[in-house]
């Protein structure tokens, strides 16, 4: 009996930790870029590379377009990405392709953005789990009248010790030189960082992070400096209803500001988003998940003139599913296209489409 319970518990852990996609994270109200602070998912290695120690030996492909020149990855226009992660002796390594970072408004200014991004991961466990990642992207275009180029470097470090974890992700540089108008125009990201950590106490994970970004945008010899920061403090919990279903809850306080140092001043946004979600094994081959998300008590933006406005329409519902074929899992979002099949910013109309069975599909294969 005891042995059976152990086997079932093991399977439950396997089934929750084997997911790996942006679609799953979004369907559960988490960050598709950096993963979750408290839910197990392989996307979390982009926040804390030490978590590669617990999610390894898989290949993942995120379906999307190859022609999103400079465009940020999004639900409606996902970017083709993918990677390979493997155990090697007492270490784990990984290679991820196509993580091209953020546009940060450069496309509209005609700069080259990060392209053909490459992330290399290495992690190990020496009592304390550790991990590191290096990000690199390089692009140039000398075919126009103005030569343009972009180079970006980033570094991520993380540790996991028992129920505690900490991480530091630094964008060492992200520089775009020359836009469609002038070779001297440039976008230059100053060293920017995200530092944070979490601690699991009982069944609740408490987490906090601080992110600071600073960038200079030089157009026609006029430099505009912007900086932004965000403090996040929160807690999240996974409640195992039964071996095949989980309810998740999280809430956090977010205090963010965006300052144009050169010009118009500071914009501040304070909010407390609360997420209620679930994930359930509908059948042996189908996992369904979803969440409802809303700012509670606090959710307002103070503009540069000091006027406050409530952030409208913060209630969102996301849903997703996983087609489970043993070691192969096909994740995706559901309900994102409308009755005509269109995928637009307003196309969520409560439709469960069998034509567009899933969108933002991510396929992971575990070995």
């Amino acid at each position: 009996m005891k042995r059976n319970v152990l086997v079932i518990a093991g399977l439950a852990v396997l089934s929750t930790s084997a997911f790996a996609s942006k679609a799953r994270m979004e369907a559960l109200g988490q960050s598709s870029t950096r993963g979750s602070e408290y839910l197990s998912d392989s996307r979390n290695i982009f926040r804390n590379p030490a978590l590669l120690n617990s999610t390894k030996n898989y290949i993942v492909t995120e379906w999307g377009t190859t022609a999103a020149a400079g465009a940020d990855d999004s639900v409606l226009a996902p970017r083709a990405e993918g990677g390979f992660f493997r155990e090697m002796g007492s270490f784990n390594y990984g290679l991820y392709l196509g993580n091209d970072g953020l546009d940060n408004g450069r496309t509209t200014s005609g700069f080259l953005t990060q392209d053909n991004g490459l992330d290399l991961f290495l992690s190990g466990d020496m009592g304390v789990q550790w991990g590191a990642k290096v990000h690199y992207a390089n692009a140039k275009d000398e075919s126009g009248t103005v030569a343009k180029k972009n180079t970006a470097f980033g570094l991520g470090l993380g540790v996991v010790s028992g129920d505690a974890e900490g991480y530091l992700n630094v964008d060492l540089s992200d520089k775009s030189e020359g836009n469609t108008l002038l070779a001297a125009n440039q976008y230059k990201l100053k060293p920017s960082y995200l530092v944070g950590g979490s601690y699991k106490w009982s069944s609740v994970t408490f987490f906090a992070s601080y992110e600071a970004t600073k960038a200079d945008l030089t157009i026609a010899a006029v430099t505009t400096t912007r900086k932004s920061s965000e403090i996040v403090v929160g807690a999240g919990r996974v409640h195992e209803i039964n071996p095949t279903a989980r309810v998740i809850t999280d809430a956090h306080v977010s205090i963010a500001d965006d300052t144009n140092i050169t010009g118009t001043g500071k914009t501040k946004t304070n909010k407390i988003p609360v997420t209620l979600g679930f994930e359930a094994d509908a059948t042996s081959w189908l996992v369904v998940r979803g969440n409802v998300h809303q700012n509670v008590i606090l959710g307002e933006t103070k503009n540069t003139a000091g006027k406050k406005t409530t952030n409208a329409n913060s209630t969102t519902v996301d849903a997703g599913a996983t087609l489970n074929f043993g070691k192969l899992k096909v994740d995706g979002s559901v309900g994102t296209t409308d009755s005509t099949g269109a995928a637009t910013a307003t196309s969520k109309k409560g439709i469960l489409s069998t034509s567009n069975l899933m969108s933002r599909v991510g396929v992971s294969y575990w070995f």
Partner: protein
């Protein structure tokens, strides 16, 4: 016990070699102009890379769904759509059958027209003819590309697998005074841990002598005699298995040709506003061109989870195209793509596969593409980039595919290639049940 293990190993080999389609290899990261196969992944499509592969697929028929091919004369603004290239969004119908009789394997295959051949004939078309601007919009009169192609195969296994293949294609259109023909022979050998092939283009010719009309530009009609004449072409290469799994491979492709254009009024044509359809020069007379591609790489597979496979490869490919106009047109690309792929048996009746590809290094340095006719210019730009020196942008691509298995019958296809409203090629991360598979290939084994 040993016997059971041997049977198990045989089944694994069988299952990995039982697939057969362009769609499968495209899903696993194939990126060849002619989709002729991959050195490190076993698939019957590889018969067009090394013809000796017919010995591995001796008793089967395969049919790739698609259109009947595009007309060489299409009304509309000159663009790649006026071309005849086969792609995953516009697959062309083709297929054939292979049968083993005694010690030998015979095969017949229809419709595997070469994209490289089409590309060169498009490039060889007279700029004036590619416009033919008589009405509201141009109606390109391109040189005929290879059509109704037949490939005949013959091979055997004397310890070393061998095979030869003859290719023949010919067509004419007397209403255009045009005709075309192509002849190729391929030979291949497969040894225990090596394989090699020599594919020779013995002849490729396309010509026309027809009236074109530039009435919309105020230039009236004229007769243009044009010809594309391929010189000796070679595609030689092979692979070597370093150990149980690691394979190195490479090839050299070289094709030369001459193209002639009798139109001698280009200055007037451009002055009349033909440049609206793209800056171009055009050139009266005969010029020479050549296409050369070098490819060298490493690839391997990994056996995982009792029969599933992972794939990885890293290869360098350098492509050079020269057209000796008065000011030379040059296309230069160098790419080093890294391919990571998987193929897994999801259920008894379903196999899923996919890959992610990205250039670890990729540059192009192209010059004077404006010499080309407007159709060729846009086609070259689409495949090799526009004029100028730059890195190759947005090279990250994710492909996926599936095989529906019904005993001896299998249906391969790409998945996730359609957009939310069903547009083929508009990849938006959609798993569509309406367009369940695209670029479908059907294989029946007997």
């Amino acid at each position: 016990m040993k016997k059971i293990m041997m049977i198990g190993s045989a089944l694994i080999v069988l299952s990995s070699s039982a697939f057969a389609s362009q769609a499968r290899l495209l899903a696993l990261g194939m990126n060849e102009t002619d989709n002729e196969g991959m050195y490190y992944i076993s698939d019957s499509r590889n018969i067009f890379l090394n013809v000796a592969n017919i010995n591995l697929y001796p008793n089967q028929a395969e049919f790739d769904w698609g259109s009947t091919g595009q007309d060489a004369s299409i009304t509309g603004t000159p663009s790649p759509s006026n071309s005849t290239l086969i792609s995953s969004t516009s697959p062309k119908a083709q297929g054939g059958a292979f049968k083993k009789y005694g010690e030998y394997v015979f095969g017949l295959y229809y419709g595997n027209e070469s994209n490289t051949s089409s590309l060169l004939r498009v490039a060889g078309t007279s700029a004036a003819s590619s416009l033919n601007f008589s009405g509201a919009t141009p109606s390109s009169k391109m040189l005929q590309t290879a059509d109704n192609q037949i490939d005949v195969f013959f091979g055997g296994d004397n310890g070393t697998k061998w095979a030869v293949n003859g290719l023949y294609s010919a067509g004419k259109d007397e209403s255009r005074n045009s005709k075309d023909s192509a002849y190729t022979v391929r030979g291949g050998l497969i040894g225990a841990n090596w394989d090699t092939h020599l594919n020779l283009s013995l002849g490729s010719k396309s010509s026309s002598n027809e009236t074109i009309n530039h009435a919309a530009l105020g230039l009236g009609t004229t007769t243009v005699a044009q010809e594309f004449k391929g010189k000796f072409g070679v595609h030689a290469g092979g692979s070597y298995l370093l150990d149980e799994k690691n394979r190195i491979f490479g090839y050299v492709k070289h094709y030369g040709w001459e193209q002639s254009d009798s139109y001698n009024n280009y200055a007037a044509l451009k002055a009349a506003g033909a440049g609206t359809f793209g800056t171009f020069s055009g050139q009266n007379g005969t010029i020479k061109g050549d296409f050369t591609s070098y490819y060298l790489g490493w690839g391997r597979d990994f056996d995982v989870n009792n029969g599933d496979k992972l794939f990885a490869s890293l290869a360098a490919k350098k492509t050079e195209i020269n057209l000796n106009y008065t000011t030379k047109t040059e296309v230069r690309t160098l790419v080093i793509p890294l391919v990571l792929g998987y193929e897994a048996k999801a259920t008894d009746w379903l196999t899923l596969r996919g890959s992610v590809v990205q250039n670890i290094y990729g540059t192009k340095d192209n010059k004077k593409e404006e010499n080309l006719n407007p159709v060729a210019k846009s086609l070259i730009a689409l495949n090799y980039g526009a004029n100028g020196k730059s890195t190759i942008a947005n090279s990250t691509a994710v492909n996926a595919g599936a095989t529906l298995v019904f005993d001896q019958l299998s249906i391969d296809g790409l998945i996730g290639a359609v957009g939310p409203t069903g547009t083929n090629g508009s990849k938006k991360g959609i798993l569509s049940a309406s367009n369940l598979e695209t670029s479908v290939g059907l294989t029946y084994k007997y």
